[in-house]
Symmetry: C2
DNA sequence: GCCTAAACGGACGATGTCGTCCGTTTCACA
DNA sequence: TGTGAAACGGACGACATCGTCCGTTTAGGC
């Protein structure tokens, strides 16, 4: 029901006051989610934003939509970081910075970890263009770092998801403990180095492999049928 | 208000039917928590156990009490595993088995990770005897493994908490993905090996250090004053 | 078998959150 | 400055969960 270019239309089709309120809501959402967790009442967000509940629901029909929009900026930062990592002439340094930056984002922007985890299963379903590109970039980054002899050969791209999700869990459990977060990141990065490869690793996650089809699959995407 | 040995008294002061129901509740709680998470309605647990809500509340006045009781067995397994690890002539093997066993418990007994994390901040406050002994044992295990040259010298006992909490987070995010869990454990254990120590690590968590006073402090316990 | 204290379970009021409805206000173009 | 569509916000009914109250049932010593 998009009015076919009626009288008023901002750059995004919103009236000025509506756009202003939308921004306020997003700021309030981040603050409230950071303080009370991602399950905080919608009314709390609305009150904080100085807006009625109806306005909030009009812009973001579901909590999920609000969460996604609130942390879209952080998600974009992740994406940009990947691009920068790929541009780094030293692939290991790029990889290292990627992990450190994303984890730092998770550590500093409270509420983001929950959003990150929540977005995970769903974002595997929605095959956006940006996501597919990110997957391809990650694959390239990993391969380069391995070819440079810095990243261990048995590292699998899904291991990055393992690292980030476990780090999410840590900062969720200990939101104020930056040192613990840094320690985990340091340990993980060291264990990803080629020199750290001593014993054999158990096989990589098949589930993550499926949800993020990182392997260069030439077959057309097949909708997995639920039993 | 324990009746001074009135007419009826089981070994634990409960009547036979009460004890039976208590057991049913605990079984049901584990099942429900595994299926619907630790925040599942109390009524669901009661229904599953085939008892009324009142009975449930009579035995376990708070959800927290129920959670603790439901996973007390798992907690005890953790404790026993530590004792066994300490008894192992090879301290590294003991350490490794400790980590692997606890993580396996977290992985297989769904609902336990949430209980584990939930218990963390509180159990640091309640200074039970078993807990203090566990801390001392852990300290001993770590020192021995380090003296044997297997565990890296800059490993800090609080790093075990970091590892277990992050693993909790991973299995919470991906409850069905055993492979991911195993991968993380393998990476972490490799990074704890002395050979993996390459760069310097950031300082260990001061918060965890305080909540679990693992360092052999001879000073009397001092109540940390909140500002 | 009797009897009483203990255990039981369902009903119920309180609380909090959700998401919608609808009368009012505001924007922005003419 | 007038006008109508868009945006606004608070009120409200629906719904779920909590934790207690109280009448009923049952265990188990005598």
């Amino acid at each position: 029901m998009v009015g076919e270019s009626s009288r008023i239309a901002g750059p995004d089709g919103l009236r000025a006051d509506a756009r202003r309120n939308r921004g306020r809501i997003l700021v309030a959402a981040r603050a409230v989610f950071a303080e009370h967790g991602i399950d905080a009442p919608m009314a709390t967000v609305a009150r904080r934003a100085g807006v009625g509940v109806a306005t909030l629901y009009r812009r973001f029909p579901t909590r999920d939509a609000l969460v996604r929009a609130a942390f879209a900026q952080q998600m974009e930062t992740c994406d940009r970081t990947l691009t920068e990592a790929l541009a780094d002439p030293d692939p290991w340094r790029g990889f290292q910075r990627l992990v450190e930056t994303i984890c730092e984002l998770q550590r500093e922007e409270r509420g983001f970890p929950a959003a990150f985890v929540a977005a995970f299963p769903d974002s595997a379903v929605e095959q956006t263009r940006v996501r597919k590109r990110a997957e391809r970039d990650l694959l390239t980054l990993v391969r380069r770092a391995q070819e440079a002899g810095a990243l261990r050969a048995d590292f699998h791209p899904s291991d990055l998801a393992v690292a980030l999700l476990s780090h999410c869990g840590l900062v969720t459990a200990l939101p104020h403990d930056r040192a613990a977060s840094r320690r985990l990141v340091a340990y993980l990065l060291q264990s990803f180095r080629a020199e750290a490869a001593h014993g054999a690793l158990p096989p990589p996650s098949a589930l993550l492999l499926r949800s993020l089809p990182l392997a260069a699959d030439s077959s057309p995407r097949q909708r997995p049928s639920r039993a």
